[in-house]
Symmetry: D2
Subunit: 393 residues, 4 copies
Amino acid sequence: MQLKKIINDPVYGFITIDDVLVFKIIAHPFYQRLRRINQMAMAHLVYPGAVHTRLHHSLGAYHLMCNALGELRNKGVDITKEEEQGAKVAILLHDIGHGPFSHALENVLIEGMHHEAISLLLMNELNKQYNGQLQMAIDIFTNVYPKKYLYQLISGQLDVDRMDYLTRDSFFSGVSEGVIGYDRIIKMLTVHEGELMVEEKGIYSIEKFLVARRLMYWQVYLHKTVLCAEQMLQRIIKRAKYIKAFTKTPLNKFINEPIDNVTLQEFCQLDDYDVVSAIKEWSTHEDKVLSILCEGIVNRHLFKIKYFGQPVDEKLVNEKRDAVMQQLNISVADAGWLVFTGEAASNTYNFDNEHIHILFKDGSVKDISEVDNALINENMKSKVKKYYICYSR
Amino acid sequence: MQLKKIINDPVYGFITIDDVLVFKIIAHPFYQRLRRINQMAMAHLVYPGAVHTRLHHSLGAYHLMCNALGELRNKGVDITKEEEQGAKVAILLHDIGHGPFSHALENVLIEGMHHEAISLLLMNELNKQYNGQLQMAIDIFTNVYPKKYLYQLISGQLDVDRMDYLTRDSFFSGVSEGVIGYDRIIKMLTVHEGELMVEEKGIYSIEKFLVARRLMYWQVYLHKTVLCAEQMLQRIIKRAKYIKAFTKTPLNKFINEPIDNVTLQEFCQLDDYDVVSAIKEWSTHEDKVLSILCEGIVNRHLFKIKYFGQPVDEKLVNEKRDAVMQQLNISVADAGWLVFTGEAASNTYNFDNEHIHILFKDGSVKDISEVDNALINENMKSKVKKYYICYSR
Amino acid sequence: MQLKKIINDPVYGFITIDDVLVFKIIAHPFYQRLRRINQMAMAHLVYPGAVHTRLHHSLGAYHLMCNALGELRNKGVDITKEEEQGAKVAILLHDIGHGPFSHALENVLIEGMHHEAISLLLMNELNKQYNGQLQMAIDIFTNVYPKKYLYQLISGQLDVDRMDYLTRDSFFSGVSEGVIGYDRIIKMLTVHEGELMVEEKGIYSIEKFLVARRLMYWQVYLHKTVLCAEQMLQRIIKRAKYIKAFTKTPLNKFINEPIDNVTLQEFCQLDDYDVVSAIKEWSTHEDKVLSILCEGIVNRHLFKIKYFGQPVDEKLVNEKRDAVMQQLNISVADAGWLVFTGEAASNTYNFDNEHIHILFKDGSVKDISEVDNALINENMKSKVKKYYICYSR
Amino acid sequence: MQLKKIINDPVYGFITIDDVLVFKIIAHPFYQRLRRINQMAMAHLVYPGAVHTRLHHSLGAYHLMCNALGELRNKGVDITKEEEQGAKVAILLHDIGHGPFSHALENVLIEGMHHEAISLLLMNELNKQYNGQLQMAIDIFTNVYPKKYLYQLISGQLDVDRMDYLTRDSFFSGVSEGVIGYDRIIKMLTVHEGELMVEEKGIYSIEKFLVARRLMYWQVYLHKTVLCAEQMLQRIIKRAKYIKAFTKTPLNKFINEPIDNVTLQEFCQLDDYDVVSAIKEWSTHEDKVLSILCEGIVNRHLFKIKYFGQPVDEKLVNEKRDAVMQQLNISVADAGWLVFTGEAASNTYNFDNEHIHILFKDGSVKDISEVDNALINENMKSKVKKYYICYSR
């Protein structure tokens, strides 16, 4: 086995792999499947460059983890070889449980299950295959390992996952304003009383990071056309389940059988390609609702969508629904699949959750929302919400 | 219809669309299909970022065409509104005839037919649908239009197609050395006696462009692992045809019926997703050759490949073939599918073809290979060839 | 005279000049002087790349003005050829009145005079030399021209000056987080009732722009080491005036004669080179205060600086001052030159001034601080202030 | 003393300093002087961004040295702590002997002395000040240290000096085509039998590097306007010496006394600022030749320059000289200062000198010009030469 491998990455230049276990995991079919899962689901319908994969993102997050651990060590934080490997493996696998189109179909394809839970199942499976070598990674990933900062690097408001996806999504979508100073932030990381913190002089970089994230949410992830396409995608799966639509693809079992019948192995063979193939198949399905939704995705004939500051006026919904009923000669129930409302929400900083802590030179610690002249303040406690209506044209 | 649309592109910043016909073509299912065709086939197995699509590339080439036409006009070249639209439409559609995995499966899936020929069929079809509005584009594309430089912008050694794909492939693969000065080259373009030329002061940019292309060929397009994967991909299709392997996907007709049975409409529904789905299906096929090839692509268990300066020694081939026969208990003929040789070739500059002409201030014209102290000289007349062997491990 | 010139710019690629009057102004000694004035004064002592010039910045702002005017015209705003030229010339000359080290010595070298006032004097002088051709530029610059949006493009919270300097300073200093989406912002500009506004969908880009500016202030412009060096620079000039220090350089007249004696012509011959030469000369001056300050700048032996959230404790000041008195054997008054306090202030958005207006699709107009879920809100009405002490080590 | 310092660099992101001796050297006035020496002399008159300093370049080369040493160590090359420090210090100081405007005035201001010789003098001086701590650096720099590859990293056709200046000059001038793959090249470096070599798979990167260098020479370093300005600059110094022109600046001693009178200390106080101040002073000198040359530089009123493939026709020279004599009423000898010819030469690869060696997998070694299908071949043995005439307008 080669001892060192360099991977070209347009974002970071080169990503270096030099750990045998990491090699093996990357070469494993579980991991290679991530090549066939788009990182940004339907965002490429608006941002044509946004076609990078979950595999690429997890490699990127792995790279940032290597940098972050190196930086912390330089600052005197004691990190053992085992912990280093554990943290690297954990971040590499943090998204391994994602199914086709990741977030866009989460809880839709596999109801009632978050990708983290499946990631854990797969990590346990790999742990068996590799004779317990992943135990440390699992302990860190599940936050039972005593050094909490390792968990925080993987899952928190300032983890390397978030740093990579903001950087990478901004890069591939071409939304240059989403750029964050990941390298500066990493250089500002430190550990204080076992927790991950940011040095005082990193405050502005953190504010900038949170605002870039806010921008990416509204400009990209919740861009109205992207949201519309992803809502259509969800309805395709839901409708197919509802009418028990058959497909020749492996997706069929996920549509037409109880989810408990599906094995982990079968899950691991499913990816975007199966879903897209099924959508192409269904685009001429006899069920009008299903075929309209599918044809819309295949040919980018997307529904019309409008955003509002308040819940959508019922009158408008009824008006659009009536129009669709008449135009397509379908029932009011079916029209409800083609004219629907919802809300999109995002917050700039989560005040309730894993906080971002600033460590001052005098040893004191403050939440980023509590520093002097904080940009991120109480005013932002409530989520920003937008209400939308989508309807078939 | 919206009169102006801006598309974010990580490579050029923004691409502007402001022509109604161009809008319609982009929105057409023929064009949207290019979203599902990877620009670089299997290159992403080595360069994980290289997952951009044919749609993105043709939008990019369109953008450069807009710039080039604008530049020429500024220099006093008379270009009518119709010619402008024709050239833009022609470049937008130059790759419309590409099938799944474009070059990698060209002549394999649809034997005996180049993508340009299919592009022309599709352009004619669109011309019908749009009442002859594409006639100018077709005349330019087929080089029957008198202003030859318009054709040269689309198809030549210095066309906007090439400029975009080198720039874009280098960008997404992260091979920054492949970067060319497309903007400077475009500013140096001029028309002399009806032909596209480059101003004298652009000589070094052109040399640089040719060397960047040379590098991209050997470092990326013909990278041994990429080449190996694409050879495996070709053999999958050939083997499937040979053993008449069934697949539930729409690819089946292309595999199991004479190509003449396939309609243009059916071709237009085929894309990478069908091929990948078939490969996944066949990865457990009972034919060992087919399943080994398919499993290799799905899980990135690629064959071993070695490059040589001379044709591969027969002894080595036999030795590897024998090993595979024994290991898999298959016939010598079947082993030939899993152990094979070939040659990869590329030239830095094509001395026989459409030349790159330099226009000097004194009005004289020289081929780029004939300027004083030319970097590109007779020494490079013959193609660079490398010979390879691939074999199942 | 050449009709078109292309200038390479690492920030924007190419800057195109195609107006005869603009050519002449750029070639004028008044303008060429800006080559010898550093855009960021002493920031290069911390960010070694930050050595770009005022000339480069004004060319950049000119480039953005060209883009902005083109964009507005595309949107149907009627802009005459004369207005276009006027706006371009005005932005090109907006900083022509800057003296050596621009802001860092503003009001110090030429007391009681802002650079805009001198810019106007010089524009009037050029207007004479060019037979009134600059009148439109002057009318726009002084905001007497009726189309107010032209003035707002030059001087406002969202003018092309600001867009260029943030972009350029961030680029050259290497503080990538300061990057703004200048191209997207420009595409979002519009004119409504004669005023410059931003379209609704540009809100997040504007927020991001304001936060990037906030970051640039605290991370770069008011970086404590930069601020310290610039304070030392100011004190050098003030001390030299105070003790009537002679210098062989042309700076002498500015130091030792009433400012009224200085002619505009003499001002136009002064630049950073004279000031640095004088500082080098004075670094061995017999006046200890002057020579310590000068040697500090020449050899980057900067004073110690500390930032505080509240005004600096008098005790600390006295302590440091006593130490310096003893160490250098100087009077308390002289020690005051080497130990001093001050405050640095910056606001994220100026609520009192030229506002940034958002134009909504329904035709309504709101201040950026008053949109739904505004990031920029009342909480930020007061300036952020930091207090500092600097002292000779 | 701080143990680790991070410097922002727009080219590489961050440069890390973590060696006490390196800290001290950077803080030394000898080194700080490099802040006041422009890396690219007069190139900024064409490329306004090209105003970066020698200090910035040597920091950059130091950064690449750190990377290269790290890479070689990873490959098992044994490099001691002392050798590492020595190589770093040597590259940091390799340009310390440059005088004002570096190459442009080399051998003109200090006749008969190359900057490397002065660098060595200064390194010896620093070695005294730091009690012999620079001995290793000096041994490496003078190529007496047995591990020859350390010297080759500093001075050869593929040293980190060259890699940094091509990368940096291309970055700041905005000539993006000059970009080289410095990071890939460094990853391909290896040591074989004590010599620095490049691994086989780096061949295309090396070719690309040489072609980028070729482009940078003709497009930037020997750009006709840049060359003209630098020729004017040289003639200013020569003319000033010839007519014994007085200047109030410290340059006076260098102009009006034998060079042997100048002490090393005095040399170390001279920089671009003195030369520019003198030029400004002389721009109204009574000697017409001197004042014309000086005014030309100050106000960018550059001479006209033309390039030819052959030596300039004597007729043309005489014609231009006569015109200048008449126009300015000066002697033929004086006119010779304002109308002059010369030649500019550059080679793509130096066949006689320090070669670039490629190490093949089979252990064989070839010169880059001797590999199969070499781009760099015998055809390029002779230098590319261009002949020019410059004349006052």
